[in-house]
C-alpha cells in the first residue's frame, strides 16, 4: 500500500500511538489529518510534523460526538484530498481509576462505547463508502488484549474493544475493496497506560514510536495482510 501522497486520517493523534503513527506516516510522505479533542494539543502535534517539512492538518473534534462525524470527514478531505487510510486510535478507558463493573458508573460505560465503538463506526461509515467506489482503502482499528481477556476492572473498556473488534470483522466481511484490520499494539509507555496502571514499571513497556513503525511496516508490507485479520504485537515481534 502506497503512503506517499495518500490521504490518511488518524484519530487520537495528539499523543501516544496516534501521534507516533501520524509522525511515521507523514515522514513517509502521507498527507496526514490528525484528529483529537484538544485544539492546542492537536495543533501542536501537527505543527511538529510541519516543522519537519511534511504534510499535516489538525482537526479538533471528539469522535464520540455524532455531529462531528461529517465535519471531520469533509474537512479532512477538503484539506488532504480523498482519505484512503483511517486509523482509529482515539480511545477512552471509561471509568478512571479502573473499577469493577458493579462500581462502574453507567455514564462512564456509555462514554467508552461512544468513543471506542460508535465514534469509529460513524467515521468509517462516512469514509469507507468512498473507498469502496474508488476500490482502494484501509481502515485499522487499534485494539487491546482487554478485548479478548476479561480482566477484572477493565470491563467497560474491554467490552467496548471487543465490540469494536467484532464490528471491524463484520466490516471486513461486508466491504469488497477496503481492507479492515484490527491491531493489538501491546502494552506501550503512554498516558493511557499510566492512567490505567499508574504503578506499572514503564521500562517493560514498548515505545509507541517503535510500535508505530511496526504497524506501518505491516500495513505497507508486501505480504498483503488479509482483510479481517487481527494482529497482535508484542515487544519485539508480531
Amino acid at each position: 500500500m502506497q503512503i506517499r501522497g495518500t490521504g490518511i486520517l488518524i484519530t487520537g493523534a495528539s499523543r501516544g500511538l496516534g501521534q507516533a503513527l501520524a509522525n511515521e506516516l507523514a515522514a513517509l510522505g502521507g498527507r496526514v489529518v490528525l484528529v483529537a479533542r484538544t485544539l492546542d494539543d492537536v495543533h501542536e502535534a501537527a505543527n511538529a510534523i510541519l516543522a519537519r517539512s511534511r504534510q499535516a492538518f489538525a482537526l479538533a473534534y471528539d469522535v464520540a460526538d455524532k455531529d462531528s462525524t461529517h465535519k471531520i470527514a469533509a474537512q479532512a478531505q477538503a484539506l488532504a484530498g480523498p482519505i484512503d487510510i483511517v486509523i482509529h486510535c482515539a480511545s477512552t478507558l471509561g471509568p478512571l481509576p479502573l473499577v469493577p463493573l458493579l462500581q462502574t458508573q453507567c455514564e462512564d460505560f456509555q462514554k467508552a462505547l461512544e468513543t471506542n465503538v460508535l465514534g469509529p463506526f460513524r467515521l468509517t461509515k462516512a469514509l469507507a463508502g468512498s473507498m469502496e467506489l474508488r476500490k482502494t482503502g484501509l481502515v485499522a482499528f487499534i485494539s487491546s488484549d482487554a478485548a479478548v481477556d476479561a480482566y477484572p476492572s477493565w470491563g467497560a473498556y474491554g467490552a467496548s474493544k471487543a465490540a469494536a473488534d467484532h464490528m471491524a470483522r463484520t466490516f471486513a466481511n461486508e466491504l469488497q475493496h477496503t481492507r479492515v484490520l484490527v491491531i493489538d499494539p501491546g502494552e506501550m509507555d503512554t498516558k493511557m497506560h499510566s492512567d490505567a496502571m499508574p504503578d506499572a514499571d514503564t521500562s517493560k513497556l514498548a515505545n509507541p514510536i517503535s510500535v508505530a513503525r511496526k504497524i506501518t511496516t505491516l500495513i505497507t508490507g508486501k505480504d498483503n495482510i488479509q482483510s479481517g485479520s487481527r494482529l497482535t504485537l508484542h515487544a519485539g515481534s508480531v
Binding site: 462525524t69 461529517h70 465535519k71 469533509a74 461486508e174
Partner: protein, 333 residues
C-alpha cells in the same frame, strides 16, 4: 405533485419510473429493483462530491456560497433575512455590498467583495481573509446546510451526504446518488453493472433572483479520474451504456466532451443541456422527479422528446410520485 418533505431512511422504497428514451414505454418500480433496469456491462457514473453547509449570515441577511472556495475565493449569492420556511421565490431583495466592501460572515469571518456580477448585484465574489484550514473550519463550524422551504424539519449534515461523499465541492446535495446504498450497489454488481466516480461542484438550484436563476447553472468545476475515463471507453467499446447518476454527472461528462475526446483531469463547465444538445457520452440518466417548465425538465429534453417526458410526468402524477431532493426518481434510458 408533492415534494418529499423529509429525508427517507431507506431509499429502496423510493418509487422509480423507468422511461424508455425511444418509445413511450414507462415501467413503475422501486429503487429496490433498480439493478434490473440495466444490462451486464452497463456503467453508472456517480458524483462523489460531499456537500458543504453553504448558508451563512451577513450583517443584513443570508449568504449562500455558490461553490466551494478555491484559493480563498468563492462566488456567493445574497439573500434577505428570512426564515428558511419562506420559499426562495418569495424572498425579498437583500441589502447589497459593493465591490471593495468588507464585512464579517457570522460575525466571525472577514470577507472582501472583489466583484459584483453584471448578471445581478446579488451575485458577488468573495475573498476570505484567512488560511485554508481556518476557512474550512469556519465553513463547517458556522455554516448551515442550504434548506428547502417544503421540508418539515431542518436538514443536518447527516441528511445531505451521499453514501460515498468525498471532497466537499457541492453546495447542494447531488441527490440522485442518495439512492445508491450498499445493498443497491451489491445488486448492481450481481447484475454485472459497473460503477465509476467523478467529482462535480453542484451549485445552487435556485436563488429567487430571476436573472441569476435564468443563468444557472453557472460555471461549476469537475474532476474526472483516469479510471473513469478508462471505464467509459471500455463500456462504449463493447456497446454497453453509460448512465449518469444525476444531472451533475451529465453536465460534467457532456461539458468535458464539448472540449474534445474525454480525458482525465479537472475542468470547469457551464453547459446547459436542452433539446438541441447532442449527447456524446451519456446514454441515460437517473434523476429526481421534476415537473414541466423547470430547468431540470429542459435537461431531460436532451434525452427524450417532450411527448415522452410529458407522458412520464402524467404517469408519475397519477401514481402520486414525490418530487424534489428526497423524492422519487426517473430513469431515462
Amino acid at each position: 405533485m408533492k415534494p418529499a418533505t423529509s429525508p427517507r431512511e431507506d431509499p429502496r422504497a423510493d418509487r422509480l419510473l423507468v422511461i424508455s428514451r425511444t418509445d413511450e414505454r414507462t415501467t413503475e418500480t422501486t429503487i429496490a429493483h433498480f439493478a434490473e433496469a440495466f444490462r451486464k456491462g452497463d456503467l453508472l457514473v456517480v458524483n462523489d462530491a460531499a456537500t458543504l453547509p453553504a448558508s451563512f449570515r451577513t450583517p443584513f441577511g443570508e449568504l449562500r456560497l455558490l461553490e466551494a472556495p478555491v484559493d480563498g475565493t468563492a462566488r456567493a449569492v445574497l439573500f434577505d433575512e428570512a426564515d428558511w420556511h419562506t420559499p426562495t421565490e418569495a424572498r425579498e431583495a437583500p441589502r447589497l455590498f459593493p465591490t471593495g466592501s468588507s464585512f464579517l460572515l457570522n460575525r466571525t469571518m472577514p470577507v472582501e467583495v472583489t466583484d459584483v456580477s453584471s448578471i445581478s448585484p446579488r451575485l458577488i465574489t468573495l475573498r476570505f481573509v484567512t488560511t485554508r484550514e481556518a476557512l474550512w473550519n469556519f465553513i463547517f463550524e458556522f455554516g448551515e446546510p442550504v434548506q428547502y422551504s417544503y421540508l418539515k424539519a431542518r436538514l443536518r449534515l447527516w441528511d445531505i451526504e451521499t453514501p460515498f461523499a468525498t471532497r466537499p465541492w457541492a453546495v447542494e446535495m447531488p441527490c440522485a446518488g442518495r439512492t445508491l446504498v450498499s445493498t443497491v450497489q451489491a445488486q448492481l454488481q450481481e447484475h454485472g453493472v459497473n460503477l465509476a466516480t467523478l467529482t462535480h461542484g453542484a451549485g445552487l438550484s435556485a436563488t429567487g433572483d430571476e436573472a441569476i436563476d435564468q443563468a444557472l447553472p453557472l460555471s461549476e468545476r469537475y474532476e474526472i479520474p483516469e479510471s473513469t475515463v478508462r471505464a467509459i471507453a471500455e463500456t462504449k467499446n463493447r456497446g454497453s451504456r453509460v448512465v449518469a447518476i444525476g444531472t451533475t454527472v451529465t453536465r460534467a461528462l457532456e461539458g468535458a466532451a464539448l472540449l474534445g475526446p474525454l480525458h482525465a483531469g479537472r475542468g470547469v463547465t457551464d453547459y446547459k443541456l436542452g433539446p438541441a444538445s447532442d449527447l456524446r457520452i451519456v446514454d441515460g440518466i437517473l434523476t429526481g422527479v421534476h415537473e414541466l417548465g423547470t430547468s431540470h425538465y429542459e435537461l431531460m429534453r436532451a434525452f427524450a422528446s417532450s411527448e415522452i417526458l410529458d407522458r412520464a410526468v402524467q404517469v408519475a402524477e397519477a401514481s402520486g410520485f414525490l418530487t424534489h431532493e428526497f423524492g422519487d426518481s426517473f430513469l431515462l434510458i
